[in-house]
């Protein structure tokens, strides 16, 4: 069970012993890692049945949930962290869900594919078609990614909602980081990772 680099970064950010809610937890790899290595407690939320079975197999508590219906099950500040990896772009109302994440968790962490990556920009600008890549392998008509954004877009949304960004990192599709990405994240980062919280 190995973690992707974005998941490893998240694992570094999450303090041991904390309470975590993982939205769209997939097969439970990250939660299982956090439980076993960092004594984290919490739940995964997932919609896909096969993934749910995998979570049960790993001993991750998982609740079948349609994230588009919000997190009304949970009270304010129930968790130390609400995490969502590679799912934000497939959510119907990402702005509402971000607010829900910062309500339910004292802090939130998201990762998403950066539409502002230079390869995406070139595909649209020069080739004239919707970008496709290892991170975004779908055609425009069958993609689940209905709300793609760039780092700038995301930060603007946070600003408009009084969400304070606490940490930012970017990696490529092999989940590696580089100096270039640190200097020009919105151009060179393929996957963005943010830690943030709601300011009153």
């Amino acid at each position: 069970m190995s973690l992707r680099t974005d998941q490893s970064l998240i694992a570094e950010w999450v303090k041991p012993g904390s309470r975590v809610l993982d939205l769209g937890c997939g097969d439970g790899t990250l939660m299982a890692h956090l439980q076993e290595q960092q004594e984290v407690k919490g739940y995964g939320l997932e919609i896909d049945e096969e993934n749910i079975v995998q979570c049960i197999h790993k001993g991750v508590d998982v609740i079948q949930t349609d994230l588009d219906k919000g997190l009304s099950e949970f009270k304010k500040d129930t968790f130390d962290y609400v995490i969502m990896t590679q799912t934000l772009q497939a959510i119907r109302y990402p702005d509402k869900l971000l607010k829900e994440m910062t309500r339910v968790g004292r802090e939130a962490i998201v990762t998403f594919p950066n539409m502002g990556h230079w390869k995406n920009r070139i595909q649209l600008a020069l080739a004239g078609h919707m970008p496709k890549s290892k991170t975004l392998p779908y055609e425009w008509y069958n993609t689940p990614n209905i709300h793609l954004c760039t780092l700038t877009d995301f930060e603007n949304l946070c600003g408009a909602n009084n969400i304070e960004i606490l940490d930012r990192a970017t990696v490529d599709h092999e989940h590696q980081s580089s100096l270039g990405m640190k200097l020009f994240p919105n151009l060179l980062g393929e996957i963005a990772i943010y830690r943030f919280r709601q300011n009153d």
């Binding site: 049960i56 197999h57 508590d61 998982v62 099950e73």
Partner: protein
């Protein structure tokens, strides 16, 4: 079942056992039962550590005969044979499965059919009304007698799921895991309304005689049949009925009369009639009351989360998409309360067509969930 054709994953021939309890049982109603019997079956072997026991709690019309056959001539195995047996989802090679018949029923445990020692006649309508709390208490007494301090898992569907909830509240230290399937934290108003129609069907049968019908040949069969027909409709989904029968006619054309014309009519009548042969009306009345009364939140100021506070078991809650008797929303109420109470819980809604009865069906995803969870539990217990 024909000899020689028994499937290899079946527990085979089984014999019910009887546990006798001579002590008085104080019931939730304030009544007392002076001694009682519980009929039960077991499958598999209890291990040396006594750590691999699974309790199966049955639903309204279920009983202790969950898996295998009583005689080689039996046409049908126990009611959950598709899930319990060697290498099945609930694997009797690894687990010791115990399935009691609850008191108040009519399959051998003490109930309305039992002779009242004070009158030497069957209790009939004088059998005291019992509750899920009473049942769980008697199941705990059975566990004592079997030498099982802690259940590895308690599993129950429908009314059985309610017993799982009660176990986790009343005896938190005596179970490690529980699978709450197609259940609800209490009956809805509509559920109670259905039960009331069923009861009135029985009680208004001219043979009912206020429950004193054992002495005569005429039993309230029509009433019990109607009650079962009504119940049966609520256990199936609209789609399942439509798919199975549609508007199909028995004789291909309308006859402009009140005999069974549509296939669904004759099916329901058949279901009702065969139920009458195996069930007692006084028991049925009592069991519907057990369902109506269950409401653990009522003792905790209406908060199910507070009611669940003592629980330490790990919960697996399973619902079925087409179940409208105990819909997925009812299971989600349980899940919400468990999340609120900060309990270990997983939840899945299985896609199914068969309505409430889905919990008895061998739906691949459903059985995969059961076996995956039990694999994990077996691993934790060090059972290969």
């Amino acid at each position: 079942m024909q000899e020689g054709t028994r499937p290899v994953d079946n527990v085979g021939l089984v014999e019910p056992k009887t546990a006798h309890f001579s002590e008085s049982l104080a019931l939730a109603s304030g009544s007392e039962l002076h001694g009682f019997d519980i009929v039960y079956e077991t499958y598999g072997e209890l291990n040396k550590e006594r750590s691999n026991a699974i309790l199966i709690c049955h639903a309204l019309s279920g009983d202790h005969h969950v898996a295998g056959y009583h005689t080689p001539q039996d046409k049908k195995p126990g009611w959950w044979d598709n899930a319990i047996g060697p290498n099945k989802a609930i694997d009797t090679n690894r687990f010791f499965v115990v399935s009691p018949n609850n008191i108040g029923g009519c399959s051998g445990s003490t109930g309305p059919l039992t002779k009242n020692p004070e009158t030497n006649k069957p209790y009939g309508p004088d059998f005291p009304l019992v509750t899920v709390e009473d049942w769980v208490k008697t199941q705990a007494m059975l566990a004592d007698q079997l030498g099982i301090d802690v259940w590895a898992v308690i599993i129950g569907g429908s009314l059985g799921g309610m017993q799982c909830l009660e176990w986790s509240i009343a005896y938190p230290d005596r179970l490690k895991h529980t699978f709450v399937i197609a259940a609800a934290p209490k009956l809805s108003t509509q559920n109670i309304a259905f039960n009331e129609v069923a009861r009135q069907a029985i009680r208004s049968d001219q043979n009912f005689n206020e429950g004193h019908y054992y002495e005569t040949d005429d039993k309230p069969e029509l009433g019990l049949m109607l009650a079962r027909m009504l119940g049966h409709i609520t256990y199936l989904s609209d789609d399942a009925l439509d798919e199975k029968f549609g508007r199909e006619l028995r004789d291909g054309k309308l006859k402009f009369g009140y005999d069974a014309e549509f296939q669904i009519e004759s099916y329901l009548r058949h279901q009702g009639r065969s139920f009458v042969g195996r069930f007692d009306a006084n028991s049925y009345l009592l069991l519907t009351k057990v369902l109506d009364y269950f409401d653990p939140a009522s003792d905790a100021g209406g908060s199910l989360a507070k009611a669940m506070a003592p629980a330490t078991a790990e919960f697996l809650v399973i619902s079925f998409s087409s179940d409208w008797r105990f819909s997925p929303e009812r299971s989600q109420e349980i899940v919400s309360a468990l999340l609120d109470a900060d309990k270990s819980v997983s939840y899945i809604e299985i896609q199914s067509k068969q309505g409430h009865d889905s919990f008895l069906m061998p739906i691949p995803r459903y059985h995969q969930v059961l076996s995956t969870a039990l694999d994990r539990i077996a691993e934790g217990l060090g059972i290969s």
